[in-house]
Amino acid sequence: MFKKLIEESTGKSPWLFHINAGSCNGCDIELVSVLTPRYDAERLGFKLSGTPRHADIVVVTGPVTQQSLNRVLRTIEQVPEPRCIVTMGSCPQSGNVFRGSYAIAGPLSKYVHVDVDVAGCTPKPEAVIDGLVKATEILREKRRAMK
């Protein structure tokens, strides 16, 4: 019964972990603004966690540079299953204007399965909330499938 309670509450309050994979900081700033009182994603249960081991949702920003590729993959591996990977902005989805650069290893979907893409450069905070809500639904399905 205690286990069930934990599962119930983690489903309702997914914790975020934010990875900057060479972002220009535009998306990073918007992600932080999602958690400010104005947009207040915390009222939906989202909470930024300090370590990937506590996270449920991984938000990746930036075009995944060669330097960051290993770190991104290692960090994502540390997130326990079921996990949901959200790309924020155009960069991790395609490389955006950095596409074709020798320093870019992305897009992220070459390396891991990406669950939700939030398009925009940068996305509006409302769009990020949309994406996170979508990620929560996917997370719930994944959790159900794991049982």
Binding site: R38, S94, A119, E126, I129, D130, I138
Partner: protein
């Protein structure tokens, strides 16, 4: 004990939340927000400008040949888009639109694709060039003297055959590849379907032989170009009274020429070949468009375009004048070249043209940082926009003839 925030905390309990309550209460983006792209395939003419200017390579197209024509599908991948709207700005036909829809959440890549298909019909007949009878072999005689060539209403260019020298610069500059110019056959053909009416051809034309909407209609004069190559260039001091050629092409003065190759580098048509070592100066008659650039850039004034007075005359002329008007106003500080002239620099720090010296080379207009000068080589006009001029003196400094008082 003092509780600092108790009062504020209690009063805030009864106030409205400062939170936006987004998913519950829908929120609209700002009026000029650039969100999801909407593509109108019916307006697209496949000029490809959007694909060329897209920095994120987000725009692609596939084409398929069908009996009715070319079926083109243009796709915008929002996952690679920076939403800079440059494609929209470059689209001359308004086929790309940015909406305020920011809900671009996708679980599959296809969700971020915006595409549209349209049919590009093959040209039914050979596209009729704008100017009458231009594609005929002898274009110039085909247009009777006195014919008025008017700009078109649909925003597309019109050629003025009497001015056109078939230099092909317009065809090279056309972003849509809509112009075909054949130097040998003297034809200028516009592909009506490809032309986006951007006006690049008219801007690039060194002879102002292309009319765009808003231009003045041109009356064709009795065609007298391509005069027989009159004085051949290796005739340095041959012409006693006048020098230069009637067709406006450059003539080199071997005495003055230092073979610095500047003229060859600046020639927009690449018609000049100068060899510093061998001391040769060669003009490719076919390439030369007689634009006069070589004359204006020559630091030694060793090139003459068009018929001019004999070399002995112009230089001393300027010095003769000052004797007569004795007013002798204070001269421009740097203008040591002319001691006195009826013209005196303006008090307000703006430039003044000396028409006797000005050769209407347009260098001052090009150098003007605020675009306040308008110089027409053909019409020999020099106009200053008093409102725009900031009195910086760049024009005077750049004038190769010291024809600007400042």
């Amino acid at each position: 004990m003092d509780f600092p925030f108790v009062k504020e905390a209690i009063s805030s309990l009864f106030q409205k939340s400062s939170c936006d309550m987004y998913p519950v209460k829908p929120s609209e983006a700002a009026p000029n927000y650039r969100g999801r792209i909407v593509f109108h395939p019916d307006k697209c003419i496949n000029c490809m400008m959007c694909e060329r200017v897209c920095s994120g390579n987000a725009i692609t197209h596939t084409s398929e040949q069908t009996p009715e024509g070319e079926r083109i599908t243009r796709t915008f991948y929002l996952g690679s888009c920076t939403f800079c709207a440059t494609c929209m700005d470059f689209c001359g036909h308004g086929a790309i639109e940015f909406t305020r829809d920011y809900h671009m959440i996708a679980t599959k890549e296809e969700d971020l694709m915006v595409s549209g298909t349209f049919l590009k019909k093959p040209p039914v007949k050979k596209p009729k060039p704008a100017a009458p009878a231009a594609p005929k072999a002898e274009a110039k005689p085909a247009v009777a003297a006195g014919t008025v060539i008017k700009p078109r209403d649909d925003g597309k260019p019109v050629q003025v055959p009497s001015k056109c020298v078939y230099c092909t610069i317009c065809a090279k500059k056309c972003p849509a590849g809509a112009l075909t110019v054949d130097r040998a056959a003297k034809t200028w053909t516009l592909d009506e379907d490809s032309c986006v009416g951007c006006g690049t051809c008219a801007e690039a034309c060194p002879k102002k032989a292309i009319l765009m909407p808003g231009d003045e209609p041109v009356t064709v004069e009795a065609a007298a170009p391509a005069a027989p190559k009159a004085e051949a260039k290796p005739a340095p001091a041959a012409a006693p009274a006048t020098i230069g050629r009637e067709d406006g092409k450059p003539v080199q003065d071997p005495d003055k020429c230092v073979y610095c190759t500047i003229c060859a580098k600046k020639c927009p048509a690449g018609a000049l070949e100068v060899d510093r070592a061998a001391k040769t100066w060669k003009l490719d008659e076919d390439s030369c468009v007689a634009c006069g650039t070589c004359e204006s850039v020559c630091p030694k004034k060793a090139i003459v375009c068009g018929v001019q007075d004999a070399p002995a005359a112009p230089a001393p002329k300027a010095e003769e004048k000052p004797a007569a008007p004795a007013a002798a106003p204070v001269e421009a500080p740097k203008a040591d070249e002319k001691p006195a002239e009826p013209l005196k620099p303006r008090d307000d720090g703006r430039p003044l043209q000396d028409p006797s010296k000005c050769v209407y080379c347009t260098i001052c207009a090009k150098k003007c940082p605020v675009g306040a000068l308008e110089v027409d080589r053909a019409a020999k006009t020099w106009k200053l926009d008093e409102d725009l001029c900031i009195g910086c003196g760049t024009c005077a400094a750049s004038c190769p003839k010291q024809a600007i008082l400042y």
